[in-house]
Subunit: 256 residues, 2 copies
Amino acid sequence: MKQYSVKQLAKLAGVSVRTLHLYDQIGLLKPAIRTEARYRMYGEAELLRLQQILFYKELDFSLQAIEDILNDPHFDLIQALESHKLALRSRQERIQTLMATIDTTIHRLKTKQMLSHEELYEGLPKETAKTYRNEAITKYGAETVEASENHLRNLGKEGFQQLKVEMEDIATKLIAMMQEDPHSAIVQQQIARHYHNIRGFWGTVQSPDLQAEAYAGLGDLYVADERFTLVEGKANPEYAQFLQQAMRYFADTQLK
Amino acid sequence: MKQYSVKQLAKLAGVSVRTLHLYDQIGLLKPAIRTEARYRMYGEAELLRLQQILFYKELDFSLQAIEDILNDPHFDLIQALESHKLALRSRQERIQTLMATIDTTIHRLKTKQMLSHEELYEGLPKETAKTYRNEAITKYGAETVEASENHLRNLGKEGFQQLKVEMEDIATKLIAMMQEDPHSAIVQQQIARHYHNIRGFWGTVQSPDLQAEAYAGLGDLYVADERFTLVEGKANPEYAQFLQQAMRYFADTQLK
DNA sequence: CTTGACTCTCACCTTACGTCATACCTTACC
DNA sequence: GGTAAGGTATGACGTAAGGTGAGAGTCAAG
């Protein structure tokens, strides 16, 4: 029966000596025996177990999870693999959106397509909420607007409350930024974040184009519904109009 | 000019107080002033900077990277974003292969398609290397076999040496496992790892089907070329035959 | 007997915070 | 003016998976 020292086993398996020390310490892989001088000596069985450990480690399982899997032969391996795959998938989706955000940010930087708030405000007629809503309906169709409205209603009390808190929050931030300026790119970033946060609220809308429309439409709705124009408790129509413009701009230029 | 305490700012930006303490400590975001009682007070400028920090943090930049970006206005932001995107892409690709591996592992477990080494050895005629090679040629065509051979030659001394080391390594492990058994699934895992490692060596072959063929062909080549049948310096034709079988099995059943 | 290679244990460092512990400060209320 | 509640400060420890030494003991070869 072959025996391996730490270094031999480490080289064989392509890991560091420290790693074996650690695995011993946490009980994941203990040496077959210790010599008189407390040297660790591993046998074939340990090599085998180490291979299994490395296999699961390559799949990004945590050492704790690996220990659970290996120590319990009745472990539901398939289930563990499935759920691990789900975790991997959501990681991947997150990375996907990150890359998309980077793309739009790069594009924005390259084309110097930054939104100054002069731009945002210029040409904005001071009309009433109803007018905006009707405008939105003629532009995007009653269907879209009503779908958004229905979705808002379907949120229920809690969801609506949450949305309101979120809106007040971003409102406060954006206003502070707009006063401070001059880095208006930040405003764009905030809108992007807002879009990202809000997106989950209308899971029903599927295509990206429709999402962009819905997002812009939501901006119109914000103007229409004064519950969303409250900033720290009091109405702020200027903010609402600004937000509407910014959201439409974002939808048109960034959501393709 | 508005002032914010730690808690106010934390709530506004959606982070914890501890986070602000940390950012202060590492110099990423220092409060505008400290009160007599050393309370941290932040102004609009700090809120702005915090927003920027959070934006980059959402993109998975490290705090150090963020500090570099924010502290140097001449920083090549676009370049940083591009390279960050590359890193994200490779992460994503890695996850992709992980999920694929999980899929095949699950499939293997479900269909109990595990390779016993009786299976592997049974019906294996004890023929010579040349015979194997010729067999490989008639099976997969001279083109495939020669392409593999050429690729091997093109590796140059170093590449070939590396490949040999790799081969001896896996040979040692596999033989140990086969003797130990009885978990033959491990052998499958090892073959999968081997395939994964080796794959980079023939970047020219494009389609998955062709890669599977090339991989199986490589198994035949191992038998044909005794340089690959060395285990710790001495020839080991049994291993070569085993490996050939295993690789073909893997290519046929796992690489689709 | 000494050198060099190997091994042991201990312990601090990494990231981006969370979670106490202890002590001080501010504000509201009586 | 006292007290209770709650905000704040600093410091320290813990997380995952090891990296990187420090200081000391062990082993085989020359």
